[in-house]
């Protein structure tokens, strides 16, 4: 990364609001994430964390406020445009292309690398073959990184749960994103698996030089992994800071003890 881009925050959200009916799903939310950071988004169920992801990725358009990605205004862009700009994501309830092979899941995500056109595809020209080989190599490479290279030919929905989570991350990485959004990557994992995940996420950040925003419930994961975090409750930001600062914040403690957790 050169200095110019480093000075612009990777993601900046300014006073974003989203209502559903009368409910403030997110209320005046702002955040600034610098390059290379791992930023945590925590809070009890229904605090609006996933809604923030959905606003960034264009599934919802915010009612007011602005969202900038590398200085570019992406407020209200459609999901595929946001993805093409370089924001990859995973979903809270895993969304794989279930009936397709593990390999195809990743290849599909690198569709932007498939720069051939229809006649080239139909006549299998040199360009088509070269691009398809590139897609295959790239996908295999990503599968090796997440440790799924032996499962490439299996159907995505036949994988055990933990592998499905990893495949989803590999798929998001195929986009070559500059920002990766992880929605509860440690959900359903035990303590050992969580620790492994912490290492894995950090490795990915270092290896691909990306920025990560993640929603997480496991406080130990957040403490180990995140540089900063934002705590939400009922759509409102109640604390911002390093995990250590946030953990000792009285309002956070109240929200967690009085909330659903």
């Amino acid at each position: 990364m050169n200095k110019e881009t480093a000075s612009v925050p990777v993601l900046e959200m300014q006073n974003v609001e989203k209502h559903f009916g009368g409910v403030h799903a997110i209320d005046n939310f702002s955040v600034k994430i610098e390059h290379g950071r791992i930023h945590g988004l925590i809070g009890p169920n229904g605090a609006g964390k996933t809604t923030i992801f959905n606003n960034i990725t264009g599934i919802y358009a915010p009612d007011s406020g602005k969202i900038f990605f590398l200085g570019k205004d992406i407020t209200g862009s459609s999901p595929h445009k946001v993805a093409q700009l370089g924001i990859g994501r995973t979903f809270q309830n895993i969304r794989l292309f279930s009936n397709l092979s593990v390999m195809d899941n990743v290849i599909i995500a690198s569709n932007m690398d498939a720069t051939y056109n229809m006649p080239q595809a139909i006549f299998h020209t040199a360009k088509y073959k070269e691009r398809e080989k590139h897609l295959n190599d790239k996908a295999m490479n990503l599968l090796e990184i997440v440790g799924l290279q032996d499962k490439a030919a299996e159907r995505a929905n036949s994988l055990p749960y933990g592998h499905q989570r990893k495949l989803e991350i590999a798929r998001a990485m195929a986009l070559e994103p500059k920002l990766l959004l992880l929605d509860e990557p440690a959900a359903g994992m035990n303590a050992d698996e969580s620790l492994e995940l912490v290492d894995f996420v950090r490795q990915i950040r270092d290896r691909f030089d990306i920025t990560i925003l993640m929603i997480e419930h496991h406080m130990d994961v957040v403490t180990n992994l995140c540089d900063y975090c934002t705590v939400l409750n009922f759509g409102k930001t109640i604390a911002v800071g390093t995990p250590a600062e946030v953990k000792s914040d009285p309002e956070v403690i109240r929200a967690y003890l009085g909330g659903n957790e």
């Binding site: 595929h80 993805a83 990859g88 979903f91 969304r95 009936n99 599909i108 569709n111 051939y116």
Partner: protein, 313 residues
């Protein structure tokens, strides 16, 4: 040109002793194959449902009929233009209706198919109305139909096994996830819809050239349903399955003449049973592979001939 073409076909058929009845069955089979392949791409690979494909067939058939009879356009060019026109109509229709969700899209397709039929009935000067459009040149001989079907299968196969097919399938599997990896779901749905309409138009054009006479009522809702039925029997998400489905659905009533009256009843029962017990149909989500077929045969015979498999590869 048509005369030369038909002469070649006749010579070919005489040489192999193929009578005109068989020729007719083969032509109809090829028509079905092309239309069903289009439906397969749409329903099997994109999970969009169209009750309007008979409408696109009729657009292709009438466009070619009008071009060849009224404007004496060469039939090959006319078929290309007619199919392209069906595709264009689908592209425009899809541009406005594919934004609608699920059944709302479905009803607009159905409505479109019915509207086309009513319009062809109504515009008597252009189409001859319900009395039909006579005098279409007889270009759909067996050889030509088979060439068309092979070409259609080849193109569909390459289309599906490229990024286009993969992207369509990703929209079928999970639209939100597809969008999240940068796939414009709307654009690919429209592409699939257009592709399927081009194939329907192509099939319609061949149909007209075979019967030399078309009426709007051949392209009714029942025809659209039959196309979906065939696709389901062949297997959703499999081109070889659709090919097989189209062949079976055309041949069965010819082989079992006595069953002709029960044909549609049996198809209906078949569809219900397939959806209940094996929704992937004959070859769902899988393509027929020679390698696997040979491997299975070998298994059957206790793996006696290991060399045969390698040669086939």
């Amino acid at each position: 040109m048509i005369q030369v073409f038909n002469a070649i076909n006749n010579a070919f058929c005489n040489f192999f002793g193929i009578n005109s009845y068989i020729q007719g069955v083969v032509v109809l089979m090829c028509v079905n194959i092309i239309a069903v392949l289009g439906m397969s791409v749409l329903t099997g690979f994109t999970r969009l449902f169209s009750f309007g494909n008979a409408g696109f067939m009729s657009i292709g058939a009438y466009a070619v009929a009008i071009l060849t009879v009224r404007y004496h356009v060469n039939f090959l060019l006319a078929i290309v233009l007619g199919s392209a026109f069906a595709g264009l109509v689908a592209y425009l229709l899809g541009s406005i209706t594919l934004k609608l969700h699920g059944d709302y899209f479905l009803i607009t397709c159905l409505g479109f198919g019915e509207c086309v039929r009513v319009l062809f009935n109504y515009t008597k000067k252009l189409t001859g109305g319900s009395a039909g459009f006579p005098g279409i040149p007889n270009y759909s001989n067996m050889l030509f139909a088979v060439i068309c079907a092979v070409l259609a299968f080849f193109i569909a196969w390459r289309f599906i096994h490229s990024k286009y097919g993969r992207n369509l399938t990703s929209v079928r599997e999970n639209e939100l996830a597809a969008e999240a990896v940068g796939i414009d779901a709307f654009r690919f749905k429209r592409m699939s819809f257009t592709f399927s309409a081009i194939y329907a138009g192509w099939a319609g054009a061949l149909y007209g050239g075979y019967l030399m006479y078309i009426v709007p009522s051949s392209f009714n809702l029942a025809k659209s349903c039959e196309l979906i039925t065939t696709t389901v029997i062949g297997g959703l998400g499999s081109l070889t399955g659709s090919l097989l489905g189209a062949i079976i659905v055309t041949l069965l009533p010819e082989i079992f003449r006595g069953l002709a009256n029960y044909r549609m009843l049996l198809y209906g029962i078949a569809v219900v049973l397939i959806i209940m017990f094996k929704p992937s149909g004959l070859y769902g989500y899988k393509e027929f592979s020679l390698k696997r077929f040979i491997a299975n045969i070998k298994k059957l015979f206790g793996g006696k001939k290991p060399a045969a498999g390698k040669e086939a590869e």
